[in-house]
Symmetry: C2
Subunit: 110 residues, 2 copies
Amino acid sequence: MGATKTEHFTNRQNQIAILAKALGHPARVAIIEYLMGVDTCICGDIVNVLPLAQPTVSQHLKELKNAGLIKGNVEGNAICYCIDETALEILQGYFAIVSTSLEKKKNNCC
Amino acid sequence: MGATKTEHFTNRQNQIAILAKALGHPARVAIIEYLMGVDTCICGDIVNVLPLAQPTVSQHLKELKNAGLIKGNVEGNAICYCIDETALEILQGYFAIVSTSLEKKKNNCC
DNA sequence: TTTTTATATTGCAATATTACGATAAACTTT
DNA sequence: AAAGTTTATCGTAATATTGCAATATAAAAA
């Protein structure tokens, strides 16, 4: 065994887990933060920014793309990677709901 | 190889990654949501709520505790697990900042 | 004290992740 | 066309995760 039993959980739970898992590595958090920091999205220099080899960075980018956190367009010789705002809005919305839900039951807990 | 190079990233990036990774499994998302739903935190029935064997649930709870997302107190025969609001506020704050940061540069991207 | 009940730990197998060298693919430039 | 540049994929090794049966631990109940 060792395979996640996704079928037993709700779509929302699986979706949040996929997005969270994609951000579950500091390199991928760093990539998202870097993409947020640059103005344009013609950003073919992500490899130089990270302390990892080029294949490793490429793999992390692939995982972020698979999870839906970034979009990638071929732009001549360089690849244009951009943040997919939708995914981050989903996470933002989720944790906003969680936070307000927790505020309502302040001090009900140990 | 195969070990995450945490030392090359900022404390903040590592912290977000740890929290996100802990939520990177639907069972753990489900646990957090369940703990949010109950009023008191004398909740010794998490095992029955999840479609997983008892040792598996115990392991997921351990990971959530290690990441700082939940707190656990021994409460007689049952363990009292509670959400650690601090951790979820960190996530909420992080994604709020990310979201507002993205709004400022609307349509600058592909 | 013995039994019951509830959670934790151990041990193991299957699978996934992480990282990078080597290589391939694709577009630019000369 | 040939050389250079950039990103993707392949192959592989080390490590981590996932899941559960078996077992251990600990407190409550009998």
